[in-house]
Symmetry: C2
């Protein structure tokens, strides 16, 4: 910066103004300085900028797993939504469990890991934070939420003090249930999750069970084994056993990814979908579900992101109070595919 200032025959302060408040600098001087800066390859040091200005154009994003298409979409969408207003998303991916030997009962460790990442995110002193992971607990977020705007997304976090923009799981469960009912199934297997592993998935599963039961459908609760590399395979074996015994004619999954994995698995194990068993997913994202023709529910990702971004920007500008636990829920839409009947 000093070099640019010297070259232009001005002080560092003027150079600084050119990059932070160009309007208050003489037009000619400004363009001359810009040219010199470009020629010299000067790029402002954000760390120093942030430190001196006590503000940041950075918005943190704690995200579960970027290889998960649902999160990737969210990420991508947020980037563009906030970029228009001059903000940047700094993502902290907790990471996939793909190559990790995460065994039974290690959900606790994953939570610790998420908390670490969240703290790291805070160390960057972002203007605000989006939290997009199902594992972390409200009480771990709360301390930060009192310092900067925090929006939980797209999980419909119920905690009264946390802002949340998310999927209307209640409505969604009803929609999925109706799809199953409309397809004529009378006996249905439903994948469920433990509350402590994923509140969202817990609500999804229980919601579907509630609606199906109320409609007189016979429901078979099939809990997803605790987190672990072979959990899904064990789950599939259970379903295969159920199919063999004609316990139910359709299976409701907690997300598309697992539904599709099951379809691939079933194919390899001589089980036909939907002849032997109907399959319904949950999220409707990703190319794979389109290819399979998966019957599923499409989450309103774009709506959620737009609302989340506009809420965040409103809070950053001080137009919206960030400590009132504002809630916004959006319902998805049914996607009729070829896997349910």
């Amino acid at each position: 910066m000093q070099m640019v200032a010297d070259e232009a025959g001005v002080s560092r302060a003027t150079v600084s103004r050119v990059f932070s408040n160009p309007e208050i600098v003489d037009k000619e001087t400004a363009s001359r300085i810009k040219a010199i800066a470009a020629r010299l390859g000067y790029i402002r040091n954000e760390a120093a900028t942030q430190l001196a200005s006590r503000s940041s154009d950075l918005i943190g994003l704690l995200v579960r797993d970027v290889t998960n298409e649902a999160y990737a979409r969210l990420y991508d969408n947020l980037i563009h939504s906030v970029l228009d207003e001059g903000y940047f998303i700094n993502a902290m991916s907790v990471g996939s469990t793909r190559n990790k030997n995460v065994g039974t009962g290690q959900a606790a460790e994953m939570k610790r890991h998420e908390n670490k990442r969240l703290a790291r995110l805070m160390s960057l002193r972002p203007g605000g934070i989006f939290v997009s992971t199902g594992l972390i607990k409200p009480q771990d977020i709360l301390p930060y939420a009192s310092q900067i705007p925090v929006i939980v997304m797209p999980h419909p976090e119920p905690h009264p003090q946390l802002n949340a923009v998310g999927y209307d799981e209640e409505s969604n469960a009803r929609i999925v249930s109706q799809m199953i009912i409309d397809a004529g199934h009378k006996k249905v297997g439903v994948m469920t999750a433990l509350r402590e592993n994923s509140l969202t998935e817990y609500i999804r599963g229980e919601g579907v069970i509630k609606h199906l039961s109320e409609a007189g459908i016979e429901v078979f609760r099939r809990p997803l084994p605790p987190i672990g590399s072979d959990a899904l395979d064990r789950f599939f074996l259970t379903v295969a056993e159920d199919v063999k015994n004609n316990r139910y004619t359709a299976m409701s999954f907690l997300n598309d990814h697992r539904a599709i994995k099951f379809i691939i698995w079933a194919q390899e194990h001589g089980i036909k979908v939907p002849e032997d068993i109907g399959v319904v997913g949950y999220d409707g994202l990703g190319q794979a579900s389109k290819v399979v023709g998966l019957s599923t529910l499409r989450h309103p990702v774009d709506q959620v992101c737009e609302k989340g971004a506009s809420e965040m920007l409103g809070m950053l500008k001080g137009e919206i109070r960030s400590n009132e636990g504002r809630k916004f829920l959006f319902a998805g839409e049914p996607i009729t595919g070829r896997t349910l009947s």
Copy 2:
């Protein structure tokens, strides 16, 4: 930090040491300070740390599009590879073109956009940078490469001064060609790209053409129309026309994503794969290609990431010189699916 120091009855310097160089602090003092910091919710300001230490535990990643599974895998893999050594990946996603009205000939604008993002990344003063985008040009990277370690990945950037860890497109083209030949095709359509739009895809396409031609196969060059929202649809129409006229029996795509999009499109337009036309992809990533049973070539993502990360870490530690244009190429492996014959 001052509050923590006061509370512990030590100076700020000691608190600082606890978080940057714990070994040189008295063990008891250190743990006492840590406890106080935790209680007070103190989190170090990274901007200040970075400014004062003139170093960063941050590695930048310029990435084309996180919603693209190939890049997402790369991203995720890098995060974990460098985290083990105490580094963090800060990704700058140039963004998908999904919702953008990117018309014909706007490749130039996308390049400008990428350059802006790269500059922004530099403003964060990372220790090094991974460049994972096909559009940006060597001369736009070079100025940065002289300042910090830069590794281009996974595109096999040929520029002699740039480090690159990437896919061995030469070998890959040979492998794909062999798959097509082995499937018995004599007349083949090959998707090609413009050199200025994507060097990698250009090399891929030309490589396949070269190998097929040398094997006596009749090749039909089918260039992908310039970037634009309807480019792919126009391409598909061309292929459909070719199929109708029996010009060729198989089509070689430049990546799985487009191959799968074609398969979905073909399905909707009454064209059967592989009966009417065989399809071969390129990259072998993503759940969708598995579902389709796409015949394709699997890129060695993990190998590339591991090598890239270890190179980067070596450079950051000064064990490897970063200005020698080191090159590492890895060949993929053929995936025999159901779409080629």
